[in-house]
């Protein structure tokens, strides 16, 4: 583990001893009173500080003053205190504390805090993942992925939603890489197996457990011990398998097929589905209790058609180190308005096709040759997402959003011609302008 410079403000001798023991692997500096603390904070260089608030029997939360000084110096301040009134907690956070823990469970709390701190620092200092491992220039997608990364070093299960080909597996891998978990990233696409095969893949089997089991094989659950189990297309799993998986998640142990000896595995679950989980539950395709177990934090990835700004950086990424392509203005515009039903995966295939072509300069005709049936493909990919939006914001808002997107797109395809757009969509002038106004768009369908 990385060695940190840690500061501890604690007046109680026994508590000092406890903290020193838990921080033995790091460079730790202790202070027992405010004056010494302020002096040390001023002179020292610390990564993280643990602060008690009441320093002595008649003290009035003077530890808060040390937090303010430490936060100003960029120290990550964590309060470990027996004071738990809302007022004190609010004051500590307002002065710059980043975390607040009740005293008494240092054994697990301190190691959790340090692990999270190290992983978050690694995530922040890592090469820009949005330009390498998870290419996106879309501010909304960047913000969502950055938010998800904050949960990477926790035990919380993560559910990744999004249409096929939007990068759910890549994101899951990145989350694992930033989790600090020592085990492997083990991925399985649940839709690729029949129920029996999926059970054998997940739980493993003993030699002779079934016809064809010529040798004992470790399952994915065991392979993911102390690591991450990524369950792609979890919504396709049978209810029977969901029940078995739920049991394994809850008990952290399971029986491989044909074995009477239980195996233990501590894995963190990241799962993904292209369907709306609430809808799956309503249709009886997903167990509610399993859903509860796998959706600690949920991130939704937008289809590529809703982040056209990603097309250019993705094209650049896919052709890096190989044949570079150049696109005419019309070709670019066409690609940006294309529905990309297969999302990033389709764009990759499309780039491969172009890279093998005769010309390095790509015009509209070359693009159109490979991208056909663009209108027909857009709607199904957004179905689940729109439903989720309606559940979150109401049906009226969802209908407004859809109307706005259709108008916006039609305007773009008509080169901004409003009359043509209204005629194409068979809508009144009033509906046209009121929809744009509701969505904060100007009369050309652009964001104001």
């Amino acid at each position: 583990m990385e060695k940190l410079n840690i500061f501890v403000l604690e007046d109680d001798k026994l508590a000092q001893k406890v903290m020193a023991a838990h921080l033995a692997a790091h460079n730790t500096d202790l202070a027992g009173d405010l004056k010494t603390a302020l002096k040390k904070i001023e002179a020292g260089k610390y990564d993280i500080g643990f602060f008690d608030l009441m320093l002595g029997p008649d003290d009035d939360y003077s530890g808060l003053k040390a937090i303010a000084a430490a936060a100003q110096k960029g120290i990550y301040c964590v309060v470990v205190s027996s004071s738990d009134s809302d007022d004190v907690i609010d004051r500590a956070y307002a002065l710059g504390a980043r975390d607040f823990y009740a005293k008494g469970n240092e054994e697990s709390n301190v190691s959790d805090i340090l692990r999270k701190f190290i992983q978050n620092r690694k995530a922040a200092g890592a090469a820009d993942i949005f330009a390498s491992a998870f290419i996106t220039a879309d501010p909304e997608t960047r913000a969502a992925a950055a938010e998800a990364l904050k949960y990477a070093p926790t035990e919380l299960p993560i559910l990744v939603l999004g249409p096929s080909g939007t990068g759910k597996t890549s994101l899951a891998r990145i989350l694992h890489e930033h989790s600090g978990r020592e085990g492997a990233f083990v991925s399985i696409n649940c839709s690729a197996y029949t129920e029996d095969l999926l059970e054998a893949e997940l739980f493993g089997y003993r030699k002779g457990a079934f016809t064809g089991a010529s040798e004992t094989r470790k399952g994915r659950l065991l392979e993911a011990h102390r690591g991450t189990l990524f369950l792609d297309e979890i919504g396709t799993m049978s209810l029977n398998m969901q029940m078995k998986l739920l049991k394994a998640i809850e008990e952290r142990s399971f029986y491989p097929l044909g074995s009477e000896k239980p195996e233990r595995s501590e894995f963190r679950i990241i799962s993904a589905t292209l369907e709306d989980p609430q809808e799956l539950i309503a249709r009886g395709k997903m167990r509610f209790d399993l859903f509860q177990r796998v959706h600690g934090y949920t991130i939704s990835l937008k289809p590529l058609s809703r982040r056209p700004c990603d097309i250019a950086p993705l094209l650049q990424h896919f052709t890096k180190g190989g044949r570079r392509l150049s696109f005419t203005q019309e070709a670019r515009a066409y690609m940006e308005s294309y529905a990309w039903p297969g999302n990033v995966r389709e764009l990759k295939k499309f780039t491969d096709l172009l890279s093998c072509g005769a010309e390095g300069r790509i015009d509209l005709a070359a693009v159109q040759k490979h991208l056909k049936g663009r209108e027909a493909a857009a709607a199904p990919a957004r179905d689940g997402e729109l439903y989720a939006y309606a559940l979150a914001h109401g049906l009226e808002a969802a209908l407004d959003k859809t109307a706005g997107e259709i108008i916006e797109r039609s305007l773009r395809e008509n080169g901004g011609k409003r009359t043509k757009t209204m005629a194409d969509l068979k809508i009144s002038t009033r509906l046209f302008y009121s929809t744009l106004k509701k969505l904060g768009l100007d009369n050309d369908g652009e964001k104001k």
């Binding site: 109680d12 026994l14 508590a15 023991a21 029997p57 027996s82 009740a102 005293k103 008494g104």
Partner: protein, 60 residues
Amino acid sequence: MTDTPDSGKLLHDLRSKCSSLKSAAELYKDCSAAEKKEMLALMNAAAAEITKLLAQLDKA
């Protein structure tokens, strides 16, 4: 019953001392012999403080 300010402070100190004692007890088994001796002295002092606080709480 509403705590007087004094009993509130006493309860805070009591929670704090008890928490330290609990954390120290969890660590104790992994300490070396010399550390155990030092730890035990500190734990005894904390226990005496707790007794004192309980007596004060009784009077408050």
